[in-house]
């Protein structure tokens, strides 16, 4: 197998780590020295070999351990995975999308053999070799969405489209940045984004919804979003805030480099063919500040972005209290020299 999978944890002793390979391909989200809120959507096409944008579904060294973490979250709280009855077909769409993409793009890790509706799926990293009947739920150990997303990194929001709106009617959500599937399920786009206080923000939401409603088959889209997390925690759910919220108070100048993580979400958007539903895979990447500053351009730029970020945004993203310490720590890595445009490191 081409990828060396880490044996690591995202809780307790936090043994999560990024190899040099993972650092180099990290989706650093800032293309300039400042950050403005924007929709920043682009077509989800293969881009830059080796980058996280190369494949339909990125698989990296954290795969096996992330799947173990997901299984543990689900064992503790089965409500992290839910699907309303009319979303089963969308679940099969997702099975097909992921299996076909992974078998095509990672032939050394995944295989899909079809004999009519009789499919055999081989997932070598997780040691799975299952034969089932496509569209027959009784032939799988879980519902189709749960089955495939227990084997795929990232959260999944499954949206039904009707009445010119999107409805969060299914999902697998175990690595979220502070939102809850159990709370949002069954809500429409405006409900799960509520409250939207200002008319002008309402305008942005209406435009974003229009964009999403028009995502077409064969033309997936993507965007990056980011936040901060203390410790490499995947599961920062509101249900568990009492466990992770207080970790924010553990930061010191000494441990900040290893404890403070930039958390980047690669959000992708696909139209599903049979159900006409939309699926939003939300893949979470974590990087410690220590690792991040090994790329000089990123260290310099992150310092400037965090320093100049409007107060509301730092509050909204939940790190306003730690910002002064973060800025001070990062300033050691900012010599004031200019940074180049774009998100990639300079050495290539």
């Amino acid at each position: 197998m081409t990828i060396q999978f880490n044996d690591e944890t995202f809780r307790g002793d936090f043994t999560f780590r990024n190899s040099e390979w993972a650092i180099k391909r990290f989706p650093f989200p800032f293309h300039e020295d400042s950050y403005m809120y924007s929709v920043n959507m682009e077509p989800h096409t293969s881009y830059r070999p080796g980058s996280v944008f190369e494949r339909t579904f990125d698989v990296d060294e954290h795969y096996v351990s992330e799947m173990k973490d997901r299984a543990q979250v689900l064992a503790d709280d089965p409500l992290r995975c839910q699907s309303l009855p009319h979303m089963t077909l969308a679940g099969w769409d997702l099975v097909e999308l992921i299996m076909e993409a992974k078998a095509r793009e990672y032939p050394d890790l995944f295989e899909l053999h079809k004999n009519g509706n009789r499919w055999r799926w081989v997932n070598k990293p997780l040691g799975i070799d299952d034969t089932f009947t496509f569209l027959d739920e009784s032939t799988l150990p879980y519902g189709p969405m749960e089955y495939i997303t227990r084997q795929t990194q990232g959260d999944f929001a499954m949206l039904d489209q009707r009445d010119d709106n999107l409805w969060m009617d299914a999902g697998m959500v175990t690595t979220q940045a502070d939102w809850s599937l159990d709370f949002d399920i069954g809500m429409n786009f405006f409900e799960w984004h509520a409250p939207v206080p200002k008319a002008h923000e309402m305008g942005i939401f209406v435009r974003a919804l229009k964009f999403l409603l028009n995502i077409q088959q064969g033309q997936p889209a993507r965007r990056l979003n980011w936040t901060m997390t203390v410790n490499p925690l995947l599961d920062t759910s509101p249900e568990n805030y009492h466990k992770w919220g207080e970790m924010k108070q553990d930061l010191t100048m000494e441990n900040l480099g290893s404890k403070q993580h930039l958390r980047v979400e690669l959000q992708t958007f696909f139209r599903l063919p049979r159900s006409n539903a939309l699926v939003f895979p939300i893949r979470c990447y974590l990087i410690s500040f220590n690792d991040l500053v090994t790329v000089p351009k990123w260290g310099r730029r992150l310092h400037r972005v965090i320093r100049d970020l409007p107060e509301e945004l730092a509050t909204y993203k939940g790190f306003i209290d730690n910002r002064p310490m973060m800025v001070e720590w990062l300033s050691q890595y900012d010599d004031g020299s200019p940074t180049s445009d774009g998100i990639w490191a300079d050495d290539d």
């Binding site: 077509p43 309303l84 009855p85 009319h86 979303m87 077909l89 097909e96 569209l135 039904d160 489209q161 009707r162 009445d163 229009k210 028009n214 077409q216 088959q217 064969g218 033309q219 063919p273 049979r274 159900s275 006409n276």
Partner: protein, 321 residues
């Protein structure tokens, strides 16, 4: 980025006249391989190279959505139209290579429905054919009421009656048969969704009757693609691309923008999806709005136009394109 741009290269595998007006076309992927699956109700936009004019028409996919071997559409000849359907009938032959768009669905089934009640008029039968395939496969409950002019113009009526015994009801205009809509709607189980595809009058009748009988708006679905209307030629200034474009008598504004190399998004080309909505920067004259998309208020406001079906009469029109 134009929305309608993801293309599929296909070869015409079969051209089959079905009756005096309707011809069926079957497409397979050029060079082999499967086509994308789709959902019942989806359409594809077919590109036609008609001399130096490129025509693009949207047609509902009528084949089994799970069959990735081929797509099938049916085209009704419209002698009064601008030429797209005539091109399909007269120029498209087996073996010809064509370009079509990925499937787009603006008329999908509501999968929460306990029962799907389908009302078709004429060529409006095609999206239901794919939906019935899908529902039959999923074990969904459905019923079709299909109104045709005469038995000989009852496109696929016989085939459907045989394929779905007891579920298909055909009404012949020439025998004075008509769907008894109030009775039909009154006898549906709770959780039924109604779908209508056919002429404008039929669509309005179904929406109107259902709403009078207290049906929730969300339980009644319709699809109607409008053919772009012909009209007096006019001139448009495109502010962003800094071009002046002439729109011909039988050309749509959208087609004229495309011919001038201006990026103009679209999905349905039939006034239904909203994708082509364009801001008007200035005008002196009157709009001929033909779309289903803009509200009456927006239409009166003079700030938006849907270039796929709407026109303009007057001195100047400046668009944000």
């Amino acid at each position: 980025m134009s929305a309608g741009t993801a293309k599929l290269n296909v070869t015409v595998a079969e051209v089959k006249p079905i009756n005096d007006l309707v011809t069926r076309f079957k497409f397979v992927r050029t060079g082999g391989g499967g086509l994308p699956t789709f959902s019942g109700g989806a359409h594809t936009v077919v590109e036609m190279q008609d001399g130096d004019i490129t025509r693009l028409n949207a047609y509902s996919l009528m084949s089994n959505p799970a069959d990735r071997g081929a797509y099938t559409i049916s085209v009704r000849r419209d002698d009064q139209g601008r030429g797209g359907s005539k091109f399909m009938h007269s120029k498209v032959k087996e073996g010809m290579e064509m370009v079509i768009s990925n499937p787009v669905n603006l008329f999908s089934l509501d999968l929460r429905a306990k029962k799907h009640l389908m009302l078709a008029g004429g060529i409006g039968i095609t999206p239901f054919m794919a939906q019935m395939h899908q529902l039959a496969m999923m074990g969904g409950r459905f019923e079709l009421h299909y109104s045709v002019r005469t038995a000989s113009l009852g496109t696929y009526a016989k085939e459907l009656t045989e394929r779905y015994p007891g579920k298909v009801h055909v009404y012949h205009d020439d025998q004075k048969e008509a769907i008894d809509l109030p009775a039909l709607l009154a006898n549906q189980p709770l959780g039924t969704h109604v779908y209508v595809c056919g002429p404008k009058g039929m669509i309005n009748w179904v929406h109107g009757t259902a709403s009078e009988m207290g049906w929730p708006r969300e339980a009644v679905h319709s699809e109607e693609f409008l053919a772009p209307a012909s009209g007096k030629p006019f001139e448009v200034k495109c502010a962003v691309s800094n071009k002046v474009v002439q729109v011909g008598e039988h050309q749509s504004l959208l087609e004229a923008l495309e011919a001038a190399g201006i990026d103009a998004p679209y999905l349905c080309r039939g006034g239904a999806c909203g994708q082509c909505e364009t801001n008007v920067i200035g005008y002196d004259g009157k709009f001929l709005h033909h779309d289903h998309w803009l509200t009456d208020e927006q239409k009166a406001g003079g700030k938006h136009i849907m270039p796929c079906v709407s026109r303009f009469e007057g001195k100047t029109l400046v668009l944000d394109r």
